[in-house]
Amino acid sequence: MNRFPRYPAVAAVPATAILAIALVAAALTACGSVNTTYTRTTPSATAVPTNTQVNDALTQIFLRAGEVRMFPSKGGPLEVQVDVINNGFSYRGFSYRFDWVDANGSVIPSQVSVWKTSNVPSGGSTTIRAIAPSESATDFRLQVRRADE
């Protein structure tokens, strides 16, 4: 008697193999993964919509930008915060750079736009942030690159 009449491919795989695969997947996920507790279930008031151009599929699969918030800092220029989420099975390092642009869309050259590094644990998230160099900055561009490992 076939236990999986609707799924012949699944029926061909022994139950022990399925169990083994599930255990390996669970073990991989558990290694160094973090559990996160939070109370907010809705986007924050300063969340903004974003577009991402993906050139490195692996970065997109394992590291992805969560909520992006942008608001004026205490000193006046804009502050941006980006939640970076790691869906992979291991601790991941990445480098990133914020470039600021003015109302015309021109990049504002500044000493604050430099490559920085950060790490995010498996299953966890980290928030990267940047402050605009002046009040003429109205928007930003973020480049993220996987760390060399």
């Binding site: 220029p77 502050e79 480098s95 920085k116 002046s134 760390a147 060399d148």
Partner: protein
Amino acid sequence: MTTHIARTSLAILSRSLALCTVGMLVASGCGSPAKYVETGSPQSIVSVGEVDMQDILKASSGMLESLIETGVLKTASAKPAQLVIDKVVNDTSSQFDVGELLYRMREQLVNSGQATVITTFGANAEDKTAQEQLRAQAFRQGNAVEGMPAPDFSLSGKITQVKRQAGNTQQSTYTFRLTLTNIRSGVEVWTKTVDMTKQGTKNSVGF
């Protein structure tokens, strides 16, 4: 007999020359040729026990962001705020000029009109010639006090290092700390630390 020795020596010499030539060709073929990389880019060299250029750029950026974020420079009586750069001590085992950090900060603050830097103030005046000239001019005009610059803030700081080792793995944490003091009140009005920790067994290219 002499001819035989001469022939043998010549053969050895020619073989040695051939080996040297092949060795040089292999060596030149295996090494990576020199190239330009963007300063502070992820292609840069990462040293475990030294402060690298990207560390200085990161520290400079972090300090500037904090200064701008808090808006402390806007509280100065002068517009733009007048700064004097005091001592920033490099207390690490890595040899580098703290000017690499400070000049980048000055460039951003001065060129964007958020601050001016007075280089003729105090015992550690950066431009002694201009300071002397200013003093002489003020003395001649009879306003030795009013004619001298009166900065709002003084910037000072320290860079420290904590080293640890486990087996062959080395770890260095560099801490950049700067403090802004209101010169008129003597009160600290802003301070910021930027940490960076590097770990590994050897230097590498790229991060």
